[in-house]
Symmetry: C2
Subunit: 320 residues, 2 copies
């Protein structure tokens, strides 16, 4: 459905529940808080209902304190329930109960794979972040943009584009970012809070993991390793190792970066390539999947065996 029609439905209703996806990230939280502030300016009643405690890096967002964590309580009901940045109903988690109980559901998203699970669906795959859709929706609702709403939307855009670096970034993304700066939003503070912020545990884990660096095939292949012991020793979580594979990929002269992670279900392997190696091919051959430049698999064997297996696979790629 066109965004104009969604604006009309919003105008006709009074109370709203906004649902970011499970394991809420910057885009789902920023879009939800931004939309919440906009709807409140129209005099609407709004509840942001989240599956788990939201990440504390977003604590600086104006509407953060009003986010409610769902506890299975059936008191949550509204005229209209809006799912944001949510590809399918599984991503609503336990809050599917709240969604299902409402006859007036809206699904606003940018994932190509969205299953159109609501009564009304608006999927814009060209939007780098759902916040871009929120920017337009706020305009259609004739809500005057302010620094609070803009800070939320900027946080979304910045996180979902990796700081305007991913290839999903468009001229529209930059146009909105420029308008947000003109409103007087303190963008360097947002970047420092969100993109350059680490827990002590994560920082210690980065240090430990970097010390495991191994290089093969004339530095074309770089491997980093995370063991359960390492995570435990610095009091980190498994998620703290997310993204560390990019340190391996980023080495000058390296084509493929790999992160091997010891998990309860086996050795989780993340592959990243820079230019010409199709890592999805290798991941698929090992029972996993992914894209040409970012793929993964899980190997049910020891860390040493997993490493040996992977080195064998890449021997065919790098040694001709």
């Amino acid at each position: 459905m066109a965004l104009e029609d969604i604006a009309k439905i919003i105008n006709e209703n009074n109370s709203f529940i906004l649902l970011p996806h499970v394991s809420a990230d910057g885009d789902s939280i920023g879009s939800s808080t931004g939309l919440s502030l906009a709807l409140k300016k129209l005099g609407k009643k709004v509840t942001i209902l989240i599956e788990e405690e939201p990440p504390s890096v977003f604590k600086f967002l104006p509407e953060f304190e009003n986010i409610k964590v769902y506890n299975g309580d059936d008191k949550y009901s509204a005229d209209c329930v809006i799912a944001l940045d949510t590809g399918d109903i599984k991503r609503l988690g336990n809050r599917f109960a709240v969604f299902e109980a409402c006859s007036n559901t809206i699904n606003i998203d940018h994932h190509q794979t969205n299953t159109n699970f609501a009564v009304i669906n608006h999927i814009d795959v060209k939007a780098a972040a759902v916040a871009e859709i929120m920017w337009d929706l706020t305009g259609l609702l004739k809500v005057e943009m302010d620094t609070d709403i803009a800070s939320c939307l900027y946080t979304s855009i910045m996180t979902d584009t990796g700081g305007f670096r991913f290839s999903n970034t468009t001229s529209k993304t930059h146009d909105i970012a420029g308008r947000i700066i003109d409103l007087g939003v303190n963008i360097d503070k947002i970047a420092a809070n969100v993109l350059e912020s680490n827990s002590v545990a994560k920082l210690m884990l980065i240090g430990t993991v970097l010390s495991t660096l191994e290089l093969y095939y004339g530095n074309k292949l770089a491997i980093l390793t995370v063991t359960s012991d390492m995570i435990e020793k610095v009091n980190a979580t498994e998620e703290d190792s997310d993204g560390l594979v990019n340190y391996a990929k980023g080495i000058i002269g390296t084509e493929v970066g790999i992160l091997l992670k010891e998990t309860a279900g086996g050795i989780r392997v993340n592959f990243r390539s820079k230019e010409y190696v199709d890592v999805a091919e290798i991941a698929v051959a090992l029972g996993g999947g992914g894209h040409k430049k970012a793929a993964g698999c899980t190997l049910e064997m020891s860390l040493e065996d997993a490493k040996a297996k992977i080195l064998q696979m890449f021997k065919d790629v790098f040694v001709k």
Copy 2:
């Protein structure tokens, strides 16, 4: 002088030498290569003359191979010499000889402190990067923008704004970035090459330095240490530790991040603060200087004594 008049002077001359500043960075290299390509499209003869070997992270830039390293040779002369991103003549290094030998010199820069050292000076302090001025100049010269020139200018903008994160980023910066994306420039490749690229030595140094993390005053103060031994052991350079202070500052709950670096001239101390501590005050009290949120000093004493002295200074700040 207005940029229109500089365009006129460029049109009236045939050969050009472009001078990026010493220790050339992304903006000076991107602006120079971008302007060089534009001038060549007008049929001009152009030499980019640089003080030292340019950093290899910029090797992907189209005009990189044509950058000449100055060797004191007096063969370099042209109708017009243009200094780019250069605040004063000291930043021309030995190439001042080439600059001085030309009677038709132009200085295009964005530093507030620029000394107007050329015959013709154009200083735009609102430009986040000199590349923004190059974008306008290219338009005034009626050179059709292409992906090669745009890649150079994008590299400048991205590096001088820290990936659109610094407070110098304006809506004009974002407008130009959007237009560059619309031209079809592969921005994720540029970001991967420039911002996410590390040598093996630097990566090992990051790992080692993170393992030195010390926290004081309820985690409000975070200290990282780099010794000459650490640098030597991983075959890194002193410059490889640049920016590591941001890991200390970025810790959740930390207000001041400090990097202590053992150098030939003593212990170099970098201070960064997040919100409310004026680190320039402390740096000045220790014989250094800087800004409220980024300052530094050099202490001629042992590492242990330097640390003790600093902890004493911050005791007054954090323990009341």
